[in-house]
């Protein structure tokens, strides 16, 4: 049964550019059919009053480790690219097909095909079969492919298939068993650490290979000044290379590791303050074009361990939007850019017709109060686990209502 058309009135519509403008948005079926100041509900429409709050595209999260629907919906996320690091890994068409269906109808999961069988970094997986089963891009998972020959063949193959390769950027020869960035903090805590250059080295090689292969390459998380400089230069040359980051790396530096806080154990690890500033600069100048939650809920059995034995990752879906709003308030980016980073750019990378409020696109829509204050609390999160380094912190920005393909969530 087809449900009635939807009109959201009295909002500030976030466009691709410029300040949000007053108006309404009308959806029919799963599509946006009209936007603007002159749009009014038609007879029989479901009508929602945005009460002057933002009407924004639903967030497209480019890289989550778990389909944690309550947390993703809390965060305004309507589409999530699922990392291939699952058990079993997303390295064959059957698991990809299953994952692609797992969130519907109110959350669309876009599986990222494992680049190599078992994510082991040696044998290229059946990527074309996975593409046709619903994989939207290819990912190396939590690790870097150390063998340059394998990486080049992968990039050439994916270029032919028209799929972007999403890679992790840490040179494994340098990182070894490191759990922290080589720095005063790691030295004082006695944690195995690796130099920041491990990231730039991986990035330098992968840019060279992508350029050679004519492939589209996306670095899921770039966290160091050196690597950002390389990417900025490559983008200037016209190489199809892009970069993302999670809020942890623009909010925190490695001083947060004091007292061995395992909620601050990430991969890549937290960096020094200068690198944190470089990440913010890169978001401001467009070198970084995607902000992702990296949502990875981990219970005490993975986190209440000695630091080096704990699993990396944070439950980030709920804080993705408010922490990105910090960048808007600090005037690093404007509101339109924030949603390009959170929705439009990741949607384009995945090749899905969503991520912006435009006629013809999927009606993935959020009403957002960008200023509403709330306190992050580990104990009260919607996520499957409360592993957030932002516990107890005040943030601003909350999703008030959410629609996926015109269907109201929750």
């Amino acid at each position: 049964m087809k449900q009635a058309a939807l009109t959201i009135t009295n909002g500030l519509i976030v466009g691709r550019e410029g300040a949000p403008v007053s108006g309404a948005i009308r959806c029919d079926g799963d599509r946006i059919v009209a936007i603007g100041a002159d749009v009014v509900p038609q007879e029989g429409d479901r009508v929602e009053d945005a009460r002057g709050k933002l009407i924004a595209p639903g967030l497209v999260d480019l890289g989550v480790f778990a389909i944690d629907k309550p947390a993703l919906h809390f965060g305004g996320i309507t589409r999530a690219a699922l990392m291939p690091d699952q058990n079993p890994p997303l390295d064959r068409s059957s698991t990809v097909r299953y994952a692609a269906q797992s969130g519907k109808p109110d959350l669309w999961v876009h599986p990222l095909a494992a680049a190599t069988r078992g994510l082991e970094g040696s044998d290229i997986a059946e990527i074309a079969l996975m593409r046709d089963a619903g994989a939207k891009a290819v990912a190396t998972g939590r690790h870097w492919i150390a063998d340059s020959g394998t990486m080049l063949r992968l990039l050439r193959y994916c270029a032919m298939l028209g799929m972007t390769v999403i890679t992790h950027a840490e040179d494994s020869g340098l990182t070894g068993n490191a759990v922290a960035t080589a720095s005063e903090m790691a030295t004082r805590l006695g944690l195995p650490s690796a130099p920041v250059e491990a990231e730039a080295l991986a990035v330098a090689r992968d840019i060279a290979l992508a350029e050679m292969a004519g492939a589209k390459l996306h670095f899921r998380q770039i966290t160091t000044r050196g690597a950002l400089d390389l990417i900025r230069a490559a983008q200037k040359r016209g190489v199809a290379v892009s970069a993302g980051v999670t809020p942890a790396h623009f909010m925190l530096s490695d001083t947060a590791l004091a007292d061995f806080r395992t909620f601050c154990r990430f991969s890549p690890p937290l960096r020094r303050e200068d690198d944190r500033k470089a990440v913010i600069e890169a978001i401001g100048d467009g070198t970084i074009s995607v902000i992702t939650s990296g949502h990875d809920p981990r219970g005490p059995e993975d986190k209440r361990l000695p630091f080096a034995d704990a699993e990396p990752g944070m439950a980030g879906a709920e804080t993705l939007l408010p922490l990105t709003m910090n960048l808007v308030r600090d005037e690093v980016i404007d509101m339109a850019t924030a949603f390009r980073l959170l929705a439009t750019n990741p949607a384009r990378l995945l090749g899905v017709d969503a991520g912006a409020l435009e006629v013809g696109l999927q009606a993935d829509i959020a009403i957002i109060d960008a200023d509403r204050p709330w306190i992050v609390s580990s104990d009260k999160m919607a996520a499957a686990a409360g592993n957030t380094p932002f516990d107890g912190q005040g943030v601003q920005g909350r999703v008030l209502a959410l629609w996926k393909g015109g269907l109201k969530v929750g």
């Binding site: 790691a186 006695g190 209440r304 000695p306 080096a308």
Partner: protein, 330 residues
């Protein structure tokens, strides 16, 4: 023998203000006067340990558990003797390095020990930060007997005590710590103690065994051992921790000795009365030559072991004062 408090009463804040910490997880964050307080407290136990009858009953009725998740001979023995000489009931729990060191087991073990109502728990673990994790889960004082590459506070204290008794003063004293600084918790605790007390600390290692930004810990890094040794008052040698190395850090023990081994000739570059220390176990012929390790009057390696027992007695006695309801410590 002087009583526990009389010698130090005048120099330190009264009661628990002299050492207002629940446990001893590390030397980071301890004030210089708190370190000196513990060193002074240890003196009486040095005296006691030299008497024919080496036993007091300060800790009578208290239970101390030594939970060692990593192999140890001398530290475990030292803590056991320290507890027994203070009159406590000492129980050793050795957990093989390979068996249970992961998962909830660590927290579960901590809660089990806590439920047994230990009055102090001494822990060694192969992972940095593990001792703190356990300390958060138990009600009694926890003493860190070495956690990964982080800290080994009683070793730092006993080394400071050894130096203090040999040299008297710390301020301006030139101390060289040479060896596997990267993997050494002994180095970190010594750096923290000695810099806090005013010593001029030099650390010496090849680049692969030198931690990043070590100069931020107020030490001077050296790669050239001969340069580091110049006019040194204290030469502390560390063992290569092969068990913590993944990959090749040095070409060979022979080559390591060539650059970093302490020989009689090398020692001559230090001050004429420089003392030689080593936390043990030694690799004779690698980082230290036998004739240096056994040099009478200069090598204090066995003195360190002696001070170890006294220092651990002081730590156990001070940290159990609250439980024993000593005046000013409740």
């Amino acid at each position: 023998m002087t009583s526990a408090n009389s010698s130090s009463r005048s120099r330190y804040p009264a009661g628990s203000l002299a050492f207002p910490h629940r446990g001893l997880l590390g030397l980071a964050g301890l004030a210089p006067h708190e370190i000196l307080f513990l060193l002074d407290e240890a003196e009486q136990w040095v005296e006691l340990n030299r008497q024919p009858t080496k036993r007091v009953d300060h800790l009578r009725g208290l239970t101390i558990i030594n939970a060692f998740y990593e192999n140890s001979t001398r530290t475990l023995l030292s803590f056991e003797i320290a507890g027994k000489r203070l009159g406590a009931d000492v129980v050793n729990m050795s957990v093989g390095q390979s068996s249970v060191k992961k998962g909830e087991t660590l927290i579960d073990t901590a809660m089990t020990l806590n439920a047994m109502r230990a009055d102090a728990i001494v822990i060694r673990h192969a992972s940095s930060g593990a001792v703190r994790l356990i300390a958060e889960k138990v009600d009694c004082p926890v003493l860190n007997a070495g956690d990964g590459q982080h800290e080994h506070p009683t070793q730092g204290l006993l080394d400071a005590l050894t130096i203090k008794r040999a040299k008297g003063e710390f301020v301006g004293l030139k101390v060289v710590i040479c060896g596997d600084i990267l993997h050494s918790r002994v180095a970190r605790s010594n750096i923290l103690a000695l810099t806090a007390l005013g010593a001029d600390v030099r650390v010496c290692a090849p680049p692969a065994l030198m931690p990043a930004d070590i100069e931020r810990m107020r030490v001077t890094p050296y790669h050239d051992f001969d340069a580091a040794l110049k006019d040194a008052d204290v030469v502390m040698m560390l063992r290569l921790q092969n068990e913590r190395m993944t990959g090749q850090f040095i070409p060979s023990p022979r080559e390591y000795r060539h650059l970093y081994g302490l020989s009689v000739d090398r020692l001559a570059r230090a001050a004429g009365d420089a003392i030689v220390m080593h936390p043990g176990p030694m690799n004779r012929g690698v980082e230290i030559d036998s004739n240096v390790a056994d040099l009478p009057g200069r090598s204090l390696i066995t003195t360190q072991v002696e001070m170890g027992v006294a220092m651990r007695m002081a730590c156990l006695e001070v940290l159990t004062r609250k439980a024993r309801k000593l005046e000013g410590w409740q």
